[in-house]
């Protein structure tokens, strides 16, 4: 099954120290390499901060474009992984290894199974 791992973390205005950034990057490298070697890495990216976000809402055919993230929350979406996992337990084990302090304070990972829409031959 494909799972999406949404990394939620608390943005802080001041950038990470070099040491913090290195620790986190090393954590991500380890996960990425391992997942790559096992052939289950389907995607991974870090997102730019919410200050760069734009939200577009289309209602009744007209679009409203606003500055900022979709919802103002305490923790923000900082990045994602997409992995092919055997089952949820397998996914939970991967989630435990993904660093979450990418943009400031440590947060959490939301695991969402991908809704597969497949065409039968």
């Amino acid at each position: 099954m494909r799972y999406m791992f949404l990394i939620y973390s608390q943005e802080r205005p001041e950038p990470l120290t070099q040491q913090e950034a290195e620790t986190i990057m090393n954590g991500h490298w380890a996960v990425m390499q391992d997942a790559q070697q096992k052939g289950i890495l389907l995607g991974v990216d870090k997102l730019k901060p919410t200050s760069t976000a734009t939200t577009v809402r289309v209602t009744g055919g007209s679009a409203l474009t606003t500055d900022g993230p979709f919802a103002e929350t305490k923790e923000q979406l900082a990045g994602y992984y997409m992995l092919e996992c055997k089952d949820l337990d397998d996914a939970i084990e991967w989630a435990k290894r993904i660093p979450t302090g990418c943009i400031g304070a440590e947060g959490g990972i939301e695991i969402r199974p991908i809704h597969e829409l497949s065409r039968r031959p």
Partner: protein
Amino acid sequence: MDAGAAVEAVFRQESGRIVATLIRISGSFDRAEEAMQEAFAAALAAWPANGIPQNPAAWITTAAHRKLIDQSRREKTQREKQDSLQYETPAFRPPDDLEFDDPAMHFPDDRLRLIFTCCHPALNPEGQVALTLRTLGGLTTTEIARAFLLPEPTLAQRLVRAKRKIQEAGIAYEIPPAARLPERLTSVQAVIYLIFNAGYTAGSGRQLLRLDLCAEAIRLARLLDELLPGDPENLGLLALMLLHDSRRQARVSDSQLVTLEDQDRSLWDQAEISEGLRLVETALRLRPLGPYQVQAAIAAVHAQAKTAGETDWNEIAALYARLFEFNHSPVIALNHAVAIAMSAGFEEGLRRINAIGATGELDGYYLLHGSRADILRRMNRFEEAAEAYRRALALTTNQVEHDFLSRRLRMCEK
């Protein structure tokens, strides 16, 4: 025994085992339940005429298995006819080939898989409880809803949500590997204890029609101990529940709560106590030590006291201190302080309770004020006690607790 009673007995004793196997084979809770229900219906029709089979559970399992095969064939044909877009749930797709004869004979016991799946921490606790009672406990939705004083549709909805999450999030139907077992076992134990406590707080004897959740929890704990023999915390949990349950007749009198101190100890269930004590003794010798073992040990100290006055409060205080090491909860600290008050002295106990109160963490917890009031009452400081009882009263919604506190308050106001 007549056939109808035999069917009912098999359902009560074996449905958990049967449904666990059928879920593994079919890959679906719903299909398994449906097939099992059909098989029991078939038994009700066949047994009165043909006699009760030698191994009724195997008969049911085989009959249900055939129904699954039929169903799977029907769906396969239907699927081949369809060429439209189709949703899939890969983790739980039933195997295309359901062609072996007697599934019950091939696998020892699927109930462990079922327990771990029902109590998966990715399900919410209400869902875990409902699904465990429904599948392993073999209870109807109506029975469970009534036991929890919930409308039936609410309970049914919880079951649907939990089953859907299992299917769609890909929760495996497996016994966790050794490395994850302790963590997952904690979740199973928590569900069983939750069921027990729901029965225990509700158990005032008023609801004669209600299912006995305490007995169900004890039954599940026995099953867990049977399937994973020798786990120290499983034993601790079973012992703890037996020892608490032993006081059920004495806890309530005329719908009034009776404190441990005032209980008529001759009403305590001696069979449960002796089994509980035996289990505690075994469990305490095993390592690692966990919170259920220690709580069972506390219950055992109470159970061994012939009168309230003979209670070994020093031992209880020491055990609460140990319990606090596992879980730095202010509620445990409060219980520890009460035990100190009863052993080392009221002054010291009160000092500790006040210190816990000063943190503000337990401001909304009626037992903080209730315990404080109780110690003040014992110290003959009735005005302060009355004030604390009033604060406790303002925080409880439970009628039995409310009545108890009101009576104590009136004693202090005289």
